[in-house]
Symmetry: D2
Subunit: 489 residues, 4 copies
């Protein structure tokens, strides 16, 4: 387990392959610092005694104490602890902790690499476990590159006019494979040690070349990161934790990139490619039951603060709205608990959370986020959008005006009121806030995707049987049990 | 543990104090059989090997095997098992299992009786434990009479022009107390062995006479039950389980009823009266995370069946709607799991489920029910409302017409199609269905009540602190933990 | 213009072809009186001076004063008056006025009969105008039989195994045609003078036999009505207008029914069959902007009354809910006004309301109805479901108990409180109420059908062009206008 | 009627009293150009022959042809034309046209100035008409300053510790009055000719000093504008109309500002102060039924474009969503039509639109906006948030990558796809987009305010009477009419 600054030093040594605003940029470009700060936090939090219970795990490979972000779930308790860790850290950094993607991808690989070896006599799992040991001992930061750019959506990967629109293998060599393509919406890629690459969907028989999974260092030969970064607006005087965070998303281009065999975890097993795609999504949606619960609680807290400062905390519609927001927090988090409690142990030893609970929770969170923005905006009022620049509070003519006219209850200092509305502005009326709203909708899969997953995984025959039994229509099987889940595991 | 028929025999011996339709009626009046059938089911299910795991518990008082409906929760697992039992039984009887009310009331009493004794030197707990032993050994059916008729809502109990509008003690004697008043919406009262009476709300210092809790046999001197019963319409030929169920609700009138001391569990402890009111509601809402999950699944199954029979199961909007319905089932049930997992052990030894999770789940269920009716109606179509009487299917002229014109896919027999739409009609387009909709909204507390409870119990200061920390506003305490719950326990 | 009693006398003369509960029944069977009362009302209202402005029109065929339910729209004002009439009458009868179906069907025929003659040299319009003159002079009551039973939904009419699953012509003769099939959900058929039959959907070239429109007396040879009737529960003492209403829906079977040519208005013009189906739906949805506005206002009024009697009228959440209900009433009605204001005059002289506004309004109403039931149930409370039978209020023992315990504010007489909750029970917790909820969802077309219609009729290219213009993407045409409507008229 | 450039020249002559980012800025500061462009558009549109029908009116004061933004409504048609003009212009500028505020304020003054003179013998109306003539002949741009900073919300104006927290008169002189205070969220103030100031709420007897209405030039002595401006991000190559727009909002400070009598339109008439506040809100909400319909259509068009480019336009859930968006557009606009059709002519001759229809439409629009953002985000996908900077498309290494990987359907040029997603990014994932979302919620009054207004203005007694009549409960008056509106006019 290393410290945040040790992580920073390692990132500083990466070769420059990040582009932003039309130029190659240093990884410590001011626009990217926010993301690096958050990622560094995941190292320091694990060393914080208040977080030790959740932030540190024991490796099942080495018995060493490791950062939980490097741990493959070996029990229900691991799943519960990861969910709790994610929520607690997210409370500290105002949202996404950014480091779960990598471990969620690796958790998925741990299942399919084992299964491939059993089924096809490959040795992916051995390679994978070696890779995991290094991840744990070096405390690597990783992200996961899943979403292909996908070209024309109704066409399958092999039907696209340009085959590169889904990343694929273009050459198989004795020492490894060569891949070509790009991954979109690739969060944190510009400030992680390594990138874990997995398929984006089920693959058909024609698509063995697209069924690849591997890991590469973020500055590997042939990898180019075209990055878009977002952060809250910087402060002049009103410094605060929220101004230090940020995130970057890149289109990660793989231009004939060579991957040595020891870094390849699937190569042509089309059926398992789809399963891996689902497993990563599943783990990541379980992560969201932690971070989205935190994000919802942050909006709840901000809305409660806005109500207090505006002097309307006792209005019934405000109390009702806050109760609805608390309900959302609790239902999201409850879904994650239930998913962990109903987890399944796979042959590889890895625990997989229940699919319907994960999807139900993530979908609920995604559906709620626009309403949470609306609640904060409704109760904070227009000032969240029309607040003058901080510099106007410092100008000798306009500063006193603003200090005078921002006042609400005289017991609350003007600076606190200013700080609160500045926070609300950052959260909503900024490029950061606008971007986060879309991010919270789509990250880990949009509600419509979860609907598809829920429908696919639900045991509707069981539900129909209950109705048939009540109505006297013949059916097969027993209704005296709960719906069966995990139809595909 | 007795059988359903033994329960029926005991009910048959009760003295006639039930009124319906302007007359004293036999407890086995055909209109009341539905409720009796459901209640009897709770005895037989416990003897069914498929349900044994959830339906039977071990008494912490005697070590005997008992029906779980007579068991006070001694662990997290007890809470999980009760939730599961409730859901499984509800699947069998198409909704409410009717027997949870009594044990939910007794669970609440187990906490406050103990606490009263500790605080005030009373001996309620000893009486209560004696009572419990009899409940367990005789396998009694009980209900809980909580909701007072309440008169003018803005006035407190002692402010009503007529003091009887909340049930209260009118005389304290050496051998017991005399009470007067009425309890409304008192489900199942006309076919239980005993009625458990508890307060409906917090009581003030002026209201010691209203702070009473006790149990009486259902045919006790001075007790009158004015009953309204509902059942699905009976069938002529298309017999099915759904036609056998039903429920009764009474206004239970207590006209100067004497309660001997051994049956009195609170008498004047105003603070604990409110706590008992909350505890019963809490346990009962936890029960709802089981039965409402089942009810939602029944609507899901019925909607899936309607889609199949109508030949539209593959339409995207139908699949999306079904996924939303599955999501609701899972979120309701997840809330109950999370509530059990976060339960607190009280000094009495009784486990109490988490309040915010219970309220979040019950509120969510209550908010969903109208949409569930709408989904079934939307996908089943108008025939659920315009289906001719079963007799028209038996008439020699109209029968063939109806058999011919009800056909959808030729592979599905006309009778199955008829049975399905008859079920949908029973579920929605009947006095039973209309009544159940209101019942599902209000039973155990309406969503607006749960909003009040969630707001009251939420630790909004914690949430505000997270926002303050992010925005650089001073606050007290640590944000490095989850919201604290159970502020009132 | 005749009186309601004259209508009743005419109905009394119809031959017995109505079946209910397995038997042929008299048209004045007590179960059917509710519908007859409502229909009779549409005659008497027109003679009521308070309604004269809206209820009476001047025939464009004869210049006579006629009941507006016999009038084909000749102006925007006609459309506005019909919408207003529908709303005002619906206020009086607690919902559906039942007589708009017939005139809505005839309005559609007036357009396509004319168009067919222009296009194909037929003489439908002449026949139709003769028919209309009789409708007006005799003040006929009519309904419209549109919805076929439809068999397996994914198959078109000519693809069904049984060709009768959509009503079709089975023989063309010199003096007329013979039709066979059945129409479902055929409201009011058992108490109208004549039934207007039109196609249910677009027809293809293979489906000329299914493209028929005609009118027949309700007791015509070969026509059988299998009827399901609904009414609020009758009262013993608390008589009121609401107990007098009701409705019947039949499956109307046409078993080789001969239709003379003078009653045939389309026969084989497949393209116009679809247009007629759309036009009837359009007129009927415009009617719904009147009656559903009334129905929504009745629920609003009932909810406000419940709030007043429960003493919670000043609670903020109650006021907010009532405001939302008023908003719904106003948006539904506004959609109808806008549809009338944007009506188009067809070549036949008939005015057709705007399609998108009609569909937007009807869809909004259909989406709102479940929420309106929920609002009334939420604010009235459980007593709407658990209210004992009226007879229990008359029993000498239980009557005084119920009078005492139903009391809320002492200034409101017990009888008024009893009447209010009896009304709420009738509206929701009864076969009538359950059935009405489905009826209000599906009648005139369900929200999902209106979605389809809105998508079909919307000028999305225009909307895309606005976006393209803003973003600098080339497009054709001008954005300096409103969306074009009526793409299909 | 002048041209946009003439307006610009006049603005260029205003004295520098605008602060932004801590400095006095030129009114043509690049950050403010967006707002000026939009305002200039309102001049040029009126001269565009395609808009003449709606953009030009005839003055009832002089008979001259004037820009409709300078016209007081003299008929229902005026209201309909203004609504249509607002929608058409908004389509051109991507949202708010910015000039309606001023005329909406003046329309309100036209009613109360007349009424004050009738009631109190003042001569406000004469002054006002003189002012209007100048507005018309000089074609002035105006905004309206209504919202006070309001201090602690639960306290009334005269109860605030600092009396300036609501703008008020501090001195009455023979030649005019002196006012002190500030107006918040004062849109467009930094680029209008004059500012119209009106009260923000009802005033009590203690608050005559706060009951003032007047107009001042935007650069008047003592007036300071502290401005926050928003615009879409500028483009390098992909120039388009959307990059040219913008808006500014200021806190407008009045530091002992002298107002000569000829510019004062209310001074101490507390009752009329409240009425003016309501009237401005009412007119402005009617404006919103035009501009919000346009904004909703822009989101609809953008969503349809996103669906087309993503190749998912035929997916059922996309079509359903688009239909829902069209429904929203139509209901908003229908509400405005109905409000105009039910307008009332006041004694002053000014027409006032119906209050409940205006509020219903504006509330509906406000409730819909978050869902519209969500729909576009859901269907456009994550690229709207993660799109790299335009400069990265121009870089010689990354440009070809981005052109290759942005491709969807090969028939759509990469540039068009890039332009579309750049537009979506501007609309949502930018400071402009985040700010517009709050603006669309609160501008003209938030949904919660409209709820209050709807409840206040609704004739719920009438609705209750309908319910009472149906249930047989005595009531006063007749139910044979529509709800009465305009209870306060």
């Amino acid at each position: 387990m290393i410290k945040g600054d040790e992580y920073r030093e390692r990132i500083a040594k990466l070769k420059p392959n990040v582009y932003m605003g039309g130029k190659v940029v240093d990884r410590f470009d001011p626009r990217m610092l926010g993301g690096i700060n958050v990622m560094a936090g995941t190292y320091d939090f694990a060393l914080d005694p208040e977080f030790e219970e959740v932030g540190v795990a024991t490796s099942h490979l080495t018995g060493e104490r490791i950062n939980r972000f490097c741990h493959i779930h070996q029990s229900v308790e691991d799943l519960l602890n990861k969910q709790k860790m994610t929520r607690l850290y997210s409370q500290e950094v105002g949202g996404c902790t950014q480091r779960c993607m990598g471990i969620d991808g690796l958790s998925g690989i741990s299942v399919v690499a084992y299964e491939a070896d059993q089924k096809y006599g490959t040795n992916y799992n051995e390679r994978f476990l070696e890779f995991m040991k290094r991840v744990q001992s070096e405390d690597l930061s990783l992200n996961c590159a899943q979403t292909d750019v996908k070209g024309n959506r109704p066409w399958r990967p092999h039907q696209q006019k340009d085959p590169d629109l889904y990343l694929h293998m273009v050459e198989k060599r004795s020492d490894g494979i060569v891949v070509h393509g790009a991954k979109a919406h690739n969060s944190c890629s510009s400030y992680v040690d390594e990138i874990v690459v997995i398929p984006t969907r089920f693959m058909t028989e024609e698509e063995t070349d697209w069924a690849v999974a591997f890991a590469v260092p973020a500055d590997w030969e042939g990898v180019t990161l075209i990055n878009a970064s977002y952060s809250p607006t910087g402060r002049k005087n009103l410094h605060c934790p929220y101004e230090t965070v940020g995130i970057g998303h890149s289109i990660t281009v793989f231009d004939n990139v060579f991957i040595p065999w020891e870094r390849v975890f699937l190569c042509g097993e089309t059926e398992l490619a789809g399963k891996l795609a689902l497993l990563f999504a599943l783990y990541h949606r379980h992560s969201y039951t932690g971070c989205k619960a935190a994000l919802s609680e942050i909006f709840t807290g901000a809305t409660a603060l806005a109500a207090e400062y505006n002097g309307i905390a006792k209005a019934q519609h405000v109390r009702h709205k806050l109760a609805e927001m608390v309900q959302i927090v609790d239902l999201i988090y409850a879904a994650g608990i239930a998913a962990a409690m109903n987890a399944v142990k796979t042959d590889s030893g890895t625990y997989v959370p229940d699919t319907n609970y994960c999807n139900a929770g993530r979908m609920f969170a995604g559906e709620a986020i626009y309403g949470e923005y609306e609640a904060l905006a409704a109760i904070a009022g227009g000032l969240a959008a029309t607040l003058p620049d901080e510099a106007d509070f410092l100008n000798e003519k306009t500063g006193p005006y603003l200090e005078k006219y921002i006042m609400r209850h005289p017991d609350i200092p003007a600076e606190h009121q200013h700080r609160a509305f500045r926070l609300f502005q950052d959260m909503m009326s900024s490029a950061w806030g606008g971007h986060k709203l879309i991010d919270a909708l789509h990250g880990g899969g949009s509600p419509v995707i979860e609907k598809v997953a829920i429908y696919r995984d639900a045991d509707l025959e069981h539900s129909k049987n209950i109705a048939k039994k009540l109505g006297g229509i013949p059916f097969e099987g027993s209704t005296k049990k709960l719906s069966r889940k995990f139809l595909w595991l």
